[in-house]
């Protein structure tokens, strides 16, 4: 059987993820994994997933989105809301699966709705609109009060008292306090499975007819349009898939950290930029790079904990150094001269 270069490349990507998973499992079962590391595994998977999602939007579609955490936020809140309501009535596995369906569905829906007006335009409007969306969704969720009692749902945008709950009622979304006590369903294995599925979706999309159309739009809008490609349709498709995958990352997020608040440190502008940093350092358009960069850059500040005050400073310096080493033409030239073709090959 002949395997072409692209399939081989994709298999390597899956292989790396599976190998990392097996390695971690072996380390965990032999007791070589500290609890600190164990705690970092799940966040690493969901940041890798959202980095893959954003790379589809930024690298493949060529549209800058700086509000991707907004979709993560949608996925997190809708799924946590569902899980909280059905905690007693549905068995764990089924509930978590349905939570995924709901989280991904809503994130995709919002991606679609935002895409309709924006993706018809040429230029960097998507960046501005997604930025606004990310901030709006955060503020709207902070104003939501939803409670549930024997009489059904109660909704208010003023305060918890305005819900008028019966004594047996339960406040599900409590304004700025968000959703507390989501069942702790997510684990490393689930995270890896979702990461593999998102990789398969994105990599297969890139290598398909649709993917080539999407990349044609990125490379030359006018030529693509002239060739008869329905530009808006393909843009919408890529952006909606990207939002859906970001929603999946949100589902894992909310079922790992059981306190979910829509505050800016988790879903705001800075968080979205952080994901963009993962994507850019991993290589725009390089999906495997995004996964690796997300893992390394999430781990780095945690592993630097020992350095205390200086860790964020060192983290920033490492970012700049990585950027230069990876992307500066002079350094790439120097690397080529010094190392020849020793395993370093230019991607994209």
């Amino acid at each position: 059987m002949r395997i072409d270069k692209k399939t081989k490349d994709n298999l390597i990507t899956y292989g790396i993820v599976v190998a990392a998973f097996l390695l971690i499992q072996v380390l965990a079962s032999t007791g070589h994994l500290s609890s600190h590391m164990k705690g970092l595994l799940v966040p690493m998977t969901y940041y890798a997933i959202i980095a893959v999602a954003l790379n589809l939007c930024v690298g493949i579609l060529g549209e800058l989105s700086i509000g991707h955490c907004g979709f993560m936020c949608i996925g997190a809140f809708t799924s946590a809301f569902f899980s909280k309501l059905t905690e007693e009535t549905l068995p764990g596995g089924l509930r978590f699966f349905l939570a995924f369906v709901i989280g991904i569905g809503f994130a995709a829906l919002f991606g679609f709705l935002i895409g309709i007006p924006v993706l018809r335009l040429k230029g960097d409007y998507l960046a501005i609109v997604t930025l606004a969306f990310g901030e709006i969704i955060k503020n709207v969720l902070n104003a939501f009060y939803i409670g549930y009692d024997s009489k059904g749902f109660h909704f208010s945008m003023k305060s918890q008292m305005d819900l008028g709950l019966e004594p047996d009622g339960d406040t599900v979304i409590n304004g700025a306090m968000g959703i507390m006590g989501t069942p702790h369903d997510a684990g490393f294995t689930v995270g890896i499975i979702v990461l593999l599925i998102s990789l398969m979706v994105v990599l297969n999309l890139i290598n398909s007819r649709d993917g080539r159309a999407i990349m044609a739009i990125r490379d030359n809008y006018i030529a693509a349009e002239a060739s008869g490609i329905n530009v808006t349709r393909y843009k919408m498709m890529a952006f909606t898939i990207s939002a859906a995958i970001a929603g999946a990352a949100g589902v894992i997020y909310s079922h790992n950290i059981t306190t979910l608040t829509a505050s800016s440190q988790y879903f705001g502008y800075n968080a979205s930029i952080m994901i963009l940093v993962y994507v850019v350092l991993g290589g725009i358009g390089n999906i495997r790079g995004s996964v690796i960069a997300a893992c390394i850059l999430y781990l780095l500040p945690e592993l630097l904990r020992g350095l205390n005050k200086y860790r964020m400073l060192i983290y920033s310096i490492v970012l700049i150094v990585m950027m230069i080493v990876n992307w500066s033409p002079k350094v790439i030239e120097w690397r080529k001269r010094t190392f020849g073709n020793l395993g370093i090959k230019k991607k994209i």
């Binding site: 918890q160 700025a176 005050k309 200086y310 400073l313 970012l319």
Partner: protein, 404 residues
């Protein structure tokens, strides 16, 4: 594609500058007081018997809430050093370690896991509510005793292994409403609160419920968020138009200082009533403390109280860290001494397992009666809530005076 690359690089560059700046301020602003702490972060006191108690603390040491985390971690360290110098707990020395959580639930869990790897047996923290709730899921699973000095949201102590030192948010709201009604400070009350903050919301919700039953009329309840906390003229104008003769501010002191300044410019002079977050208002830079004249607040701790315990604590803290401790520091200092008392009550030794220590301390907590900086008499019930009297103070001539 070229244009696109330009945009990306511009965004990236700004992101980096921002993160560099954030890194710089962290390192620079805390340089002086923490130069000593850095070396002493791991207070490794070699004890004669070999075994030591390992107590960990978690708080935001960097970022926007760093003032609170540093206060908690410093004061806990101070208490540990004092106890070690006086011979330790049950004859065993204490080892102390602190971790940064950036006021982020996810980071807080990471910090907890790091401390667990270090060998922590008892957790003092996390400092803030949301991280505290997230971490309590894990301490519950490990059955580790957790005493949060300042996690005030209701859910912080929902598990039986978690206790707290500070008042809960609802208790502060209820106590404030009762105090205002009982002392007949006002009949028409305006409220300005931060709807994006858990702490502020929690207090406001209970305040409003209690106010209703006490026949206090809330004539205006206006919210702001952390994204628009610079101009309060609208909220103040509404309170003024509604004829509020007392404005309740269940918020932190930085926002409160702006409100006081703007009320003064408007010529609006109701009684301002705050809660423990208001503590610190006299230390705000460029704030005319005359404006705070007559402001009332409920707080468990006043740094210029004259009892020996407070005087000593404030002096030692200032010598070591170069700043006046706030109520977060006082809560953490008390927390360590409460642990000492509980561990001594049950004769706990460091060689016991984490779970055994937890069970023993849990049992001791409901029996002991602690005296500390934040109250001269504190008791706990099994729910983890402290029973202590709130103290009301009024600001007179730039200092807290008891408002009895």
């Amino acid at each position: 594609m070229k244009k696109f690359n330009k945009v990306v690089s511009a965004v990236m560059a700004s992101a980096m500058v921002v993160s560099m700046l954030a890194g710089c301020t962290d390192a620079a602003s805390t340089d002086t007081p923490d130069a000593k702490t850095d070396t002493a972060q791991q207070t490794n006191n070699s004890s004669d018997s070999g075994a030591t108690f390992k107590i960990g603390a978690i708080g935001p040491l960097t970022g926007g809430a760093a003032a609170y985390g540093n206060a908690v971690c410093n004061a806990a360290e101070l208490a540990v050093d004092e106890i070690n110098a006086a011979g330790g707990i049950n004859g065993y020395q204490i080892e102390y370690n602190k971790e940064d959580d950036e006021h982020n639930a996810e980071k807080s869990v990471n910090a907890y896991n790091t401390l667990k790897d270090w060998g922590m047996q008892i957790l003092v923290g996390p400092t803030t509510s949301t991280p505290s709730i997230a971490v309590s899921e894990y301490t519950k699973a490990d059955n580790m005793f957790q005493l949060t000095p300042s996690g005030s949201a209701v859910d912080c102590v929902k598990y039986d292994n978690v206790f707290r030192v500070c008042f809960s948010d609802p208790n502060q709201g209820i106590a404030s409403a009762q105090y205002i009604a009982d002392k007949k400070l006002a009949t028409k009350v305006g409220v300005i609160y931060d709807s994006s903050d858990v702490y502020s919301n929690g207090i406001y919700q209970k305040f409003a419920e209690e106010a209703k039953s006490k026949n206090l009329e809330i004539v205006s309840a206006e919210a702001f968020t952390q994204d628009n906390n610079t101009d309060f003229s609208v909220q103040l104008q509404k309170a003024k138009d509604a004829g509020a003769d007392l404005v309740f501010l269940p918020i932190y002191y930085k926002d409160a200082s702006l409100i006081l300044t703007q009320a003064n410019t408007m010529g609006y002079t109701p009684t301002f009533f705050g809660v423990d977050g208001m503590d610190g208002i006299l230390t705000v830079d460029n704030f005319d403390t005359k404006l705070a004249e007559g402001v009332m607040l409920l707080t468990p701790f006043a740094a210029d109280a004259t009892d020996d315990l407070t005087v000593n604590f404030v002096k030692n803290y200032q010598d070591k860290y170069g700043e006046v401790p706030n109520q977060f520091a006082a809560d953490a200092y008390d927390a360590v001494y409460i642990l000492k008392q509980a561990l001594e009550a049950k004769n706990v030794t460091p060689d016991m397992s984490i779970s055994d220590i937890c069970e023993a301390v849990k049992g001791a907590m409901v029996e002991i009666e602690a005296a500390g900086l934040t109250s001269s008499k504190m008791t706990w019930d099994a729910s983890g809530e402290p029973n202590k009297e709130p103290k009301a103070v009024v600001i007179k001539e730039g200092a807290y005076v008891s408002a009895e």
